[in-house]
Symmetry: C2
Subunit: 93 residues, 2 copies
């Protein structure tokens, strides 16, 4: 799954409504979904976890769209080892 | 950016350490990063926001790796309109 394709699908599905509701509401929704993911990881089954991971990534994509952030650019620094210690695998203390 | 490639890079960089530290620690780290993203969205500049979005997606990928979840599969249900109301754009009340 390409992150740009996901951001585009999320924009077409939710962009207008999300912008009307405003950024603080999206941050609140994202926080709620992260809480649901934490619960699913603690006591949910695999299907429930897949569901909640999808919701969290979708809300991150919504917020990124609202802020004009390209998620592909954002994660690029993680593609060649740890961006902090610059080692692969990470050797941070 | 392909989500599977990101999960693979994160696995090679952090997989062994993350598994040793355990899932609750990863959930705590993710929560911390979501807080930093919320702050960057409220008062950070574009570069700071890009940085924090990258961190959040990376920690979601770490947690997904630990749980054996394929993020590409997880977001698939968002690719054809709203998975709840099945409309494009979303028409949920």
């Amino acid at each position: 799954m390409d992150l740009a394709d996901l951001q585009d699908a999320i924009e077409r599905t939710y962009g207008e409504r999300d912008r009307a509701r405003g950024v603080p509401s999206t941050v609140a929704w994202l926080a709620e979904e992260v809480g649901e993911l934490a619960q699913a990881v603690r006591k949910g089954n695999h299907a429930e976890q897949v569901h909640e991971f999808g919701d969290v990534v979708a809300w991150v994509a919504t917020l990124a769209n609202q802020q004009g952030v390209d998620l592909s650019e954002a994660v690029q620094r993680y593609m060649e080892g740890c961006p902090r210690c610059e080692r692969l695998p990470c050797g941070c203390p």
